[in-house]
């Protein structure tokens, strides 16, 4: 019988993005799902892929690759959606995050978290809580709330500027 080492501390969902290992707090995760039909939404930045129908509820889907300005990668069988619940303006919102693959759940005791100012160049440091040093390797812990609350979700082209649309094809 193997004795499982009891790890205390908040648990994180471990996922892969561009061959790197990331974690988000499991408390914020509502459910995990595979890729599904996404209805595109006009007037939104590219990282918002569209809406999905989650049992009658309409929730937005954010591609984390695009959000972090990584190259877009076609969705595969391993591509997953992490449905998270975050507070925005006093309301609880559900949003889906597209990641390359989901791995597992790991407990991360606070003492295992190192805060490093610049961990990797791919992701803005303000989105990062720290790096967790675990037996299985390192995991970059992300602050979901910051990632999802910072940018405006709606961009309307042409409103407010009278300049003609660039690249008008006629």
């Amino acid at each position: 019988m193997t004795r499982r080492k009891l790890m205390t501390g908040p648990r994180y969902l471990n996922f892969v993005l561009d061959e790197e290992s990331y974690g988000i707090e499991i408390k914020k995760v509502k459910e995990l799902m595979g890729m599904t039909t996404i209805t595109p939404i006009p007037q939104t930045p590219a990282f918002i892929r569209g809406f999905i129908n989650l049992r009658g509820q309409i929730i937005p889907i954010i591609d984390l690759r695009l959000k972090f300005s990584l190259e877009f990668r076609e969705y595969t069988k391993r591509t997953s959606i992490i449905v998270v619940e975050v507070m925005f303006g006093g309301e609880l919102l559900l949003m889906g995050l597209v990641v390359d693959a989901i791995r597992d759940v790991a407990s991360v005791p606070d003492e295992r978290i190192i805060s490093v100012p610049y961990i990797n160049a791919k992701i803005r440091s303000e989105y990062i809580i720290g790096v967790a040093n675990l037996e299985a390797g390192t995991m970059i812990l992300l602050d979901v709330v910051k990632i999802l609350n910072q940018d405006e979700f709606v961009q309307i082209k042409g409103v407010g500027d009278s300049a003609p649309d660039k690249g008008v094809a006629q």
Partner: protein
């Protein structure tokens, strides 16, 4: 119930547990009693799992007997004795029979024993109920101020505080308990006719309601043991003095006899408050040489005489007691779930093509279910209007104006979400009417009325009305209009200027409405809730602000259309007709603005794909178009790819992150689970005007926009 019990009858056992749980709530005044019931319950639960011992029946009846005994005791001493017995009994019987964590630990207060989650849940419930009671209480206080002899309202008010107090006892919120208890004392005196309902008493009661709200807010934020600040203790002292005196305040007496005016009394009171009530009111008044000591003596005599009010002045208890409807509490997310699921049911039914009599019946039932479910989310305007009345009451005192307020349509049932959104603009308008509309005295009317699929909220004052010339002068000064055009502006166009940011004709800013910031905010708030606001005014007669909002728009009738791969819903309310035209029927102005002439009417052409910047816009011989009208009844020709169907759709919000979207206001889940975006024609037309969507834009050539 117990008599019927046989070993193994688990159903009955759980019934017994339920009754015990019910009893536990009744024992709010006795923590020991509650604790005892908790232990009994834990013990029964233990018995549930294992086989019941032979003495189970006996023990349980003994326990219940003890509880009954305790109930029957009227004095605290006797109750304490029984409570002692309970503790002994519990230790002797339950703990031994039920080995568990309770064994090692000594009597645990209910507070810590309760499951943290359950506690959080019940705290949330407690807060929402208490808030509701407080707003009800406020309404009642205001009723009482107008008709002090309304014994029914007084009784209801007493009940409201009493219930909150009881719940506080159960929840261990001692500060709110203390506060409501003190308020209850004051009310008791009022009820017994030992205290007159003067303005200061009303102030005191309203102050108590405000403070209770504050404490609740703290509790909601997790500060369960709200510390008593000096402010609260001073207030409690004041309350205590009020009830111990059981007579009108000295200030009131002095005002009545004309020795002091209200302003002076306020000054003295505030001085008294700043000294934490170390000095008596009379002492300060005499010291400040506001009244002579002779006046003081005379007033004190008057005060004590006024304390006794003949009973005959108290009206008979009215029928108000029986007015309370039976109400149950349901969490809003449960209701939302129900509404959503019924919506889903409608959608699922839409996919069934069968058209038998039975199916028709099912559809009919579903329809009424849907309507019924929607009504679950509604509330009356009572709370909102009572807040408005409170504002008028407090503000008119501080502005030294004589302003009355009356309301109409409190019973109108309105979607809760809308009520929430109404609050700010309504209060703003009421404040505005008081400050700017009415000079020295007058009255304000607030009304809610339903007109078709909209609800209309009116705030009207009988003041001097809007001054066209003053507004126009200000507009010219701020270059909002060129002088040549000024004279030709209609009244409505002129009055619309007051919705401009920072627009005010008042020379000096007042404390209440500030310097003209306000109406523009009201307008933007109204717009954000998809409403409109208009003004009706006549010089010398008054001004009315009329806000119109769409009533709960959860289900709309819409045309499901396709543009490229996108499914969009166009509400039929803005659709005039559906047409197929030839490309040659279009004409171009300035090279890029498309127009179409239909039956001698020229209308702009909006290509939906271009306006929204989405893919679509296929080449075909014919253009499929929908003639839509904006609110000014100007027709526009909306080009789409094809019409799929006309159907009722359940509108779902896209959430706060997408509120800034233009032309699209909501989404819906279509049969098959795909999502359709609901178009707002008015916004769409405006968007087209702003972005030049009538021009061919880049979107046309993109297969998809991402």
């Amino acid at each position: 119930m117990l008599a019927k019990f046989e070993p193994g009858d688990l159903m009955l056992l759980s019934d017994i547990m339920d009754s015990l749980k019910g009893m536990r709530d009744l024992y709010s005044g006795s923590p020991v009693g509650q604790d005892f019931i908790e232990r009994t319950l834990a013990w029964i639960a233990g018995q549930f799992k294992g086989a019941q011992g032979g003495d189970f029946h006996e023990k349980l009846s003994l326990a219940i007997e003890l509880l009954q005994k305790c109930e029957g005791q009227s004095t605290d001493a006797a109750r304490a004795r029984i409570e002692g017995e309970m503790q002994g009994f519990a230790l002797g019987n339950f703990e031994a029979a039920h080995p568990g964590p309770t064994d090692e630990t000594k009597p645990i207060p209910v507070k810590t024993q309760a499951n943290a989650f359950l506690r959080e849940e019940s705290v949330a419930l407690f807060i929402s109920e208490a808030k509701e009671r407080l707003s009800q209480a406020q309404e009642l206080v205001l009723i009482l101020e107008a008709s002090p002899n309304d014994a029914g309202s007084l009784a209801a008010l007493f009940r409201a505080f009493h219930t909150i107090k009881g719940e506080c006892g159960f929840m261990h919120f001692s500060h709110l308990g203390e506060l409501t208890h003190s308020l209850e004392n004051v009310l008791d005196l009022l009820r017994g006719g030992k205290l007159a309902l003067t303005r200061s008493v009303v102030d005191l009661l309203l102050g108590g309601i405000d403070r209770s709200h504050l404490i609740l807010e703290n509790i909601a934020e997790g500060d369960w043991d709200t510390t008593v600040g000096p402010e609260l203790s001073a207030y409690l002292v004041e309350l205590g003095r009020c009830s111990s005196r059981a007579q009108p305040s000295l200030g009131d007496v002095l005002i009545q006899s004309g020795k002091l005016d209200e302003g002076r009394v306020e000054e003295i009171l505030s001085e008294q408050r700043s000294g934490s009530f170390s000095q008596r009111f009379g002492e300060i008044a005499v010291k400040e040489a506001l009244i002579s000591s002779g006046d003081l003596r005379q007033a004190l005599v008057q005060q004590s005489m006024a304390a006794a009010i003949p009973d005959s002045e108290m009206a008979e208890p009215g029928a108000a007691e029986s007015q309370q409807d039976e109400i149950i509490k349901v969490r809003i997310d449960k209701v939302n779930f129900l509404v959503d699921m019924i919506g889903e049911l409608t959608i699922a039914l839409g996919q069934v093509s069968e058209s038998s009599v039975a199916m028709a019946q099912v559809r009919k039932i579903t329809r009424s279910l849907q309507v019924g479910a929607m009504e679950l989310r509604t509330d009356t305007m009572h709370g909102l209007f009572s807040t408005a009345k409170r504002i008028v009451r407090d503000l008119s005192h501080s502005l030294e104006k004589q302003v009355g307020i009356h309301s109409e349509g409190e019973d109108l049932e309105v979607d809760r979400h809308l009520i929430k959104k109404l609050e700010e603009p309504l209060m703003h308008l009421v404040r505005n009417a008081l400050d700017h509309g009415i000079d020295a005295s007058g009255s304000i009317r607030i009304a809610a009325v339903r007109r078709g699929s909209t609800i209309e909220i009116t705030v009207e004052d009988d003041g001097r009305g809007l001054d066209r010339e003053a507004i126009l002068a200000k507009a010219l000064e701020r270059s909002l209009v060129v002088p040549q055009a000024a004279a030709s502006l209609s009244d409505n166009q002129v009055f619309d200027f007051i919705f401009q940011p920072g627009f005010s004709t008042k020379a000096s800013a007042t404390q209440v409405s500030g310097r003209g910031v306000g109406l523009d905010i009201v307008k933007s708030m109204v717009k954000a809730s998809r409403g409109t606001i208009s003004i009706r005014t006549a010089p010398g007669k008054g001004t009315a602000f009329i806000m119109t909002f769409p009533i709960s728009t959860a289900i709309i009738d819409g045309l499901v259309v396709k543009v490229g791969d996108n499914t969009l819903i166009i509400p039929t309310s803005s659709v005039v007709e559906l047409l197929k035209v030839k490309d040659s029927q279009l004409s171009r102005v300035n090279g890029d603005i498309e127009l179409i002439t239909l039956r001698e009417k020229v209308m702009p052409v909006l290509r939906l794909d271009r306006v929204l910047g989405i893919g679509g816009g296929r080449d075909a011989k014919y253009l499929v178009g929908i003639v839509v009208e904006n609110s000014e009844h100007i027709p526009h020709f909306l080009v789409i790819d094809e019409v799929v169907a006309k159907r009722e759709v359940v509108v779902k919000p896209l959430g706060p992150r997408f509120r800034k979207m233009r032309g699209i206001t909501a989404g819906t889940v279509l049969p098959g689970g795909t999502i359709g975006l609901v178009i707002d024609v008015e916004q769409l037309i405006n968007l087209a005007l702003q972005t030049g969507g009538a021009r061919p834009a880049q979107g046309a050539k993109e297969a998809a926009w991402k």
